[in-house]
Symmetry: C2
Subunit: 508 residues, 2 copies
């Protein structure tokens, strides 16, 4: 078998697996957008079948043989050649999948599906007792999953490495401790100032006009509507079926202009990443965003660094006024920018401003580590949660619904491995902004004129096009010139909010 | 292994295969409704992967072993027990799939996909020369497919048996000859009468109100919106993902009230069948409509026997007038009933009235048989088509676009095995109506009052609930008391159109 044939055989295997994953993604999108209620039971079975077949294919002996043959075929290629990266990704996925017995995979899938249903029923009434046995079992399964990786230092490490390759609890703790130390005083200072008025954002904004405005804006940012679409759902998400079909979803609150608008821009950020990956990589592990953190850096970059910037609203406010003349005619640029950057410690992560947001993440990260280490029992989780909110954010949840039961993650999946990505993304977004500032000093003028091509082109070249070719840590250095650090993010907050709130923050 | 275990092992295998089929159906529905243009290339690959995996599973040695074990487990059960039917269906599907080599399956899939693309490009300009080489290859592949079944009498028989089990060319020729002999004089008589005015149906009918009316009507007929939905597409179809998710699609012509309305009622007829199958059969071959002909009998029953009946419009015309007061206020019940039953020999099958419709089918059936028998070359097909239209319908297509290139079937699939289902369905629909007339003599009064429950309940009990438990021929006898014949359909046409047109038709 020639080197070419060995690689093609591997690609064929990988494409088949990704075809099954893409089919499952279509079923998932349909379930979240259009599926009638009666379809749920069979849909769960269909998704489980696709997941099981993909897993069987991933761990097959034939997959291992193809990876070995392809590895021999690429050994003389340069270290950073895409084909070498492909073999590296394929081997990592294969070895990770082989370590987890199929029975455990099936058990986790069954249990998390049942747990998710229990959570959706119990959350509205804040009934933690109803989900507690599920969560205890989830913790047990999370530890069994971790035990499949005997080399791990911490039980959260395998799941973290799956979503954010190269990171582990030890490295994240250092990063997060440095961040928390800088964040808590900023939040405390801002919380003492009167929050800016945002009442005009809570006027009545009709659904259709909100969607039209959001669609127009994401199109202007660079989202390719020939390769995507936007639909309504409960919990907005982005999904990729191929480089030619990258969809976003949103929701509308007719009494708050922000909900639909920022959800669309956020998901558009994810989608611009996926639409920008080299088409040659499509159907292969190379052709997906490289990690949760890098993905979140893209969504947060557009949502916060761009769409909450004064320059952006110089362009967008006239559009918004055209869409909503009665609601926005009396609103100045300054008032609008202050309103969309209102800082207020709250209970709900997904509604948090960009200053307090990471504190929500850090609480979850610490608590899940404590559970996995056996330092915190599930029964004691609600109290630990409430105490930590009081300490870090100065407010105590009135009950579990908007406290420990607010996020789906622990109830619909394993414990550990996911929350860190949000904060990694926020840090990287700020670091990308500093790099952009150095290399395209005129970027804010372009944004103010509604011209996003230069900015998108820069992200495409630095981040998007590479897909999963480089490890996240290497990608960060290539894109920004330095390893990931908390400093750019802290500098960004101090400058922006120092100016918006007229206070001295940290060293700014 | 106990009998119960053997059956459960077979069910598990069959459910997995049907999960893959259902996933492919979701991808297909998405492609026909919401997929952005950029998604097409990868979608084709994803669908091919699902089809290939389902085929591999269908023909696996393990499948055969499970069928054998289950067959031993059910041999002491009564002949018509659902578990025996399940084993029979599984064995037929297995043996049919095993006869066709995987390479040929893949070749047919590749070729028909390419042929379909060529047809969509060539049809608008009526360029038969562009599709002729594809069609010649399709004919060759159709014969190779037929050769996989050495016991067949006619090369169309295996494909016919797949869609309409129990039928073959010999039996259909007898049925169709009898039908043609009765139809041609009816058409000739009606064609000599001035056609009723239908100009008021071609006024401007806004899209949203058309969809609202159609949705209201199919809901009243009994379509369960909790287990379905209706979306827009180019070529309306019904699709089932499970008994809890049976969707219909439609299209809207704002200058013709009929297009959306009758498409919805037609697809609703298919959907009522699938929604009415015993839920216990869901995920198994038992839980699907039994044949193309029986399926079409359900869609045509609601579309023609019900929704073109005077009693139906006694109930529906006031609803339509509420939706379109300006367009319909001057239209009487009599005028409307005559307009929706206008008979006019035309070129296009899908636009044909119920009198001429079967002549279109019979032309296609005869021509495809002639091609498969080697009596008609592809090169001579357009002339043969045009001559036959002139002979049977009295009109000659001006070119291939609205002649031999109008239907997708030969261009997107094999030649043979599909068209007969339309006429079998029309015949059965009329035979069901006669049985209903005997058993529920008051059915037209109920329909006139907008009460469809008794009618639907009767169809549920006689046809729907059984799914594929009985062979089509047995189902027809159980449902109507007699084997399928052309007489009820001819009687129905003669009575209805004799009265509408004020002429004596046949024996009526």
């Amino acid at each position: 078998m020639s080197a070419h044939e060995a690689l093609e055989a591997l690609r064929e295997h990988l494409r088949t697996v990704q075809d099954l994953d893409a089919a499952a993604a279509v079923l998932d999108w349909d379930q979240a957008t259009y599926m009638p209620p009666g379809g749920a039971a069979a849909r769960a079975r269909q998704m489980a079948t696709l997941g099981r077949l993909a897993h069987e294919m991933r761990v097959s002996t034939r997959a291992g043989e193809r990876i070995d043959a392809a590895a021999r075929a690429v050994e003389s290629l340069p270290e950073d050649h895409p084909d070498r990266a492909l073999v590296r990704l394929a081997r990592r996925e294969y070895e990770r999948a082989r370590r987890v017995p199929s029975d455990l995979v099936a058990e986790i899938r069954r249990h998390t599906a049942a747990s998710y249903v229990a959570w959706t029923e119990a959350r509205p009434r804040g009934d933690f007792a109803a989900v507690r046995p599920y969560l205890e079992r989830t913790l047990e399964l999370s530890l069994r999953y971790a035990d499949c990786f005997p080399d791990r230092s911490h039980p959260a490490d395998p799941a973290i490495d799956e979503n954010d390759p190269g990171y582990d609890v030890a490295s994240l703790r250092g990063l997060f401790a440095a961040l928390r130390e800088r964040l808590v005083p900023i939040v405390a200072t801002l919380a003492r100032r009167p929050p800016p008025d945002d009442g005009f954002l809570r006027r009545f904004y009709p659904r259709a006009a909100q969607l039209d405005l959001a669609r127009h804006v994401v199109g202007a940012l660079g989202y390719d509507w020939n390769r995507g679409r936007c639909d309504l759902t409960h919990h907005p998400f982005m999904t990729r079926f191929s480089v030619g079909d990258v969809r976003i979803t949103t929701r509308v609150d007719e009494n708050d202009l922000r909900s639909c608008f920022f959800a669309c821009v956020h998901e558009c950020g994810h989608a611009l990443y996926e639409q920008g990956i080299a088409p040659d990589y499509d159907g292969l592990p190379l052709g997906l965003g490289v990690s949760a953190g890098v993905h979140e850096s893209q969504s947060r970059f557009w949502e916060n660094q761009i769409a909450r910037d004064e320059a952006f609203w110089r362009w967008c406010l006239p559009l918004a006024r055209d869409a909503f003349p009665a609601q926005l005619s009396d609103v100045s640029l300054e008032a609008l920018v202050r309103a969309v950057n209102r800082v207020e410690p709250g209970l709900i992560r997904v509604q948090a401003d960009e200053v307090t947001y990471n504190l929500h993440v850090l609480i979850r990260f610490d608590l899940e580590c404590a559970m996995l280490e056996g330092r915190l029992r599930v029964a004691d989780l609600p109290d630990a949660w409430d105490e930590r909110y009081e300490r870090d954010l100065g407010i105590r949840p009135p009950g579990p619904r908007d406290g420990v039961m607010q996020d789906v993650h622990w109830y619909g999946g394993l414990i550990g491995g996911y929350f860190q990505g949000y904060t990694l993304g926020n840090l990287l977004a700020a670091q990308l902004r500093e790099a952009l500032e150095r290399e395209q000093p005129g970027w804010r003028e372009a944004v103010g004129a509604g011209s996003f091509g230069g900015l998108l082109g820069w992200l495409r070249e630095r981040v998007h096009v590479h897909g999963s070719r480089y490890e996240p840590a290497e990608l960060v250095v290539r894109a920004t010139g330095a390893p990931l650090s908390v400093e750019p993010f802290v500098r960004y907050l101090e400058r922006k909010y120092g100016s918006l709130y007229g206070v001295a923050l940290g060293s700014a």
